[in-house]
Amino acid sequence: MADDLDGSYGAFVRAHADAVYSTALRLSSSRADADDIAQETFVRAYRALRRYDRARVVALQARPWLLTITVNLWRSAGRGAARRPRTAGTGPAETADPRPGPEEAALSSEASRSLVRLLAELPEHHRVPLVLHHVVGLTYPEVASVLGCPVGTAKANAARGLARLRDLARTTAPRPTSPVPRPPSPARRAVAKEAP
């Protein structure tokens, strides 16, 4: 990739698309937002790689570097009420694959849907390391480099997130429909049905 960015970028996107998209989806809990964030991640990454010199591209740890962009995009997308209006027609809902992937289909969709709802209730500093390590499979040093914190902190926050998730499951289990912190818009609700 260091020698031919344009020619190899397709393969680069293909190699990392699942990790970036999974991160975006599990942080934003909406397919439309996830598609926006994941696409934007690769657009920003390409522009950055254009500027980098050869040595820097060769030395790059692609996955944590990309997911740093993803997490930052998710944070800035959520900041403030003024959200970037979505483009009509070419919007992410159309490009998103509505069918669940093979792994998703294997899951009990009700259980994973509930788990996603609980995940959304975690505070950001627990949720991000939890998603990066347990969902996407980053190592703790990689999680730490994404968050810009010591490895111990990343590990501890992921562990606290896991414990918090367990507590939430225990307190919300008797009620089949747990309250969601933000009332979902109609579009959001339709998407949530498909996203386990």
Binding site: A17, D18, S22, D97, H134, R170
Partner: protein, 269 residues
Amino acid sequence: MTAPTLPTGPAALRRLRVRAPAGFPEAVLGRLALRPDDRFVTVGGPAGELFVVFNDKGISAVVPAALAGSDPDGFARYHRRVTGRAAVPAARPPSGLAAALRTGRGTALRYDLSGLSPFERAVLAKTLEIPSGEVRPYGWVAREIGRPRAVRAVGSALGRNPVPVLIPCHRVVRSDGHVGNYGLGVPMKRALLQAEGVDLDRLERLAQEGVRFVGSDATGVFCVPSCVHARRIRPSHQVGFRSSAAALVAGFRACAHCAPAPGGERSAS
């Protein structure tokens, strides 16, 4: 309701990993104004295995496997070396490819000839009309596209045909009865023509006798010798001509199928 406690451990979280939506890489490359990667399939052709490369616009290249390594990785390396572009194996061939190879008729396929000049595209579009089992001289293509003096240029344009076999540049031959040159080698040209039933010996024999066109004194129609109608003329009725002018002077009219002379009406095929 006595639902069991929801699993929230690492195993449950691992299952929340998902695939990116179909078309995601293409959407990203589109936003960056980068062309999506070429895709390719391997198919059995009339004279050996072929790699067929295509993109959203259509088929962009045909390469014999003998020329470009016999496995997909080898072909991807070859494609990158020749075009500077990445190529990934496709799940399915472009629609209509199998039928086009079976019938020798590639008119229904879509082609991406965006790297070519308007002249080259005109030459290839005209060549695409030559039916399987028939041949036309270089001069015929030149005349039909309205550039009767550009005979050599037609040869060069056909030599740069990126989609041989499908756009049948092997069906364009010299007017003196020789098959002429071919980008993939003259033996391949002869093999392709013989595979679709062209009687090369007959064509060469006629050319040596100075016969460029044949007519039937029963119908008063004359053709290029490989025309499907010319091949049906009984020997007792067959008349040979050195030129189309000679045939016209003798009172014959030009075949509407093979268009052996300028002007005249034309059938669809």
